[in-house]
Subunit: 248 residues, 2 copies
């Protein structure tokens, strides 16, 4: 997608097929894994604690993430979220909030994951190179996310960004959010120095704090099930697709 390619530091060279050839002539064995089945199992939370995209599914995941289906999948979920949101009665006290995760929910790291040394999640997570990418503040918006965001603002929801990003990256994150169209929020919650729990525990505790402060979580969106399960999950959750990585 051109809009993604223009945001890439190291460009995507249309070389998805060259990343790791695994067809017959060299004697490699084809995997029997059905990559659509693998992705469905990931998205339904049947697979847990996986650390890498299976080698035989790297091409599939790459084509999915760069292609029309991923965009359609995201846009459809944001559209359904709006259908739900516009049917809610807000009390007008400014306490109705909508919780949004950042990575792969509002900001897309596809340009980073498309790099040959990342290969859409085939290589193990590299915090050094990922942090360098975050500092560039060059992530595009996830397809459909800015549209819903603007609709929610118009409906007078308060927006809470709740992310596993750590506090030292606050400034590039703010810059990146604003540049793609997320211009205001009630709270932007990043992980502090002392937050070392799993994502599900960390995010549950932050949502609990929100509710204890009188906020009502009417909607909650994330690309990881750890954004959506645990406690204080909100009135309704929406799972965005992400076949590139798993966070517990």
């Amino acid at each position: 997608m051109l809009t993604i390619a223009t945001a890439v530091a190291s460009p995507i060279n249309n070389q998805i097929h060259l990343l790791m050839p695994h067809t017959g002539s060299a004697g490699h064995k084809h995997s029997n894994l059905n990559c659509l089945s693998w992705r469905l199992a990931v998205e339904t939370n049947n697979l847990k604690d996986w650390t890498q995209v299976p080698k035989s599914c790297v091409d599939y995941v790459g084509h999915y993430m760069l292609g029309k289906q991923y965009r359609d999948d995201c846009e459809y979920i944001f559209a359904e979220a709006y259908e739900y949101a516009k049917g809610l009665n807000l009390t007008g006290d400014g306490k109705d909030v909508w919780v949004l995760d950042i990575d792969e929910t509002t900001l897309s790291n596809v340009p980073y994951y498309a790099r040959e040394d990342i290969a859409f999640g085939y290589y193990l997570y590299n915090s050094t190179s990922f942090d360098e990418w975050v500092v560039t503040a060059a992530a595009p918006a996830v397809p459909g996310s800015v549209k819903l965001y603007k609709q929610l603002i118009k409906l007078e929801f308060k927006i809470v960004f709740l992310t596993g990003t750590r506090q030292p990256f606050l400034e590039p994150r703010i810059k990146n959010l604003k540049e793609v169209g997320f211009t205001q929020w009630e709270k932007l919650i990043l992980k502090g120095e002392s937050d070392h729990e799993s994502a599900v525990v960390y995010k549950s505790s932050k949502r609990k704090e929100l509710e204890e402060a009188g906020y009502r979580i009417r909607g909650n969106m994330g690309d990881q099930w750890s954004d959506l399960i645990g406690t204080n999950t909100g009135d309704r959750t929406f799972k965005l697709p992400d076949p590139m990585y798993y966070i517990a």
Copy 2:
């Protein structure tokens, strides 16, 4: 699939495309709905309380349910469930149970749903015709379910079938289960006369009773999210695909 077709009372006439033509020449408008996005939203529990498969997705759902992808999706999940199950330590006291839903988890109603008057869930649920189908006890097994069942028995798990089927259908259900290969179980729990709650409340309360009786729910599988959420959900859940209907 031949194995399904042979079990059908009213045969599938290869007429999926004829069910409801909606292509250009008659002036019908094509829907913009991406049926893969719709199915993903269904499987991830983003869509709730839907009552019919969208008209423009009937062909898609029919082809999916009758084709290789559905079989692969099911078999992959059962295989992953076995990978998990065989890694567990059982205490040997006969209290480690595996909870299995019936419809679209162990017994397949695809022959019924493929009928022209059902159209893979396009027409609203018809309890009369569905009950008639249940009484025939002619449902095939969901692909991969008998294999996992036998593996679980070998690992010495106790099997608990927990279904929304009502008590008057106990005998045809037993007959059907046994005929396709589910020959023994610790408990077979059907809905009683007084059970009028939603599936999520009913199934949660039955699982609570199991745990109060000293059973440990090590695995829990169903095609509906209402099988897998609520309380006492078990150590791990597995969601089977089902784009044909929704049960709250």
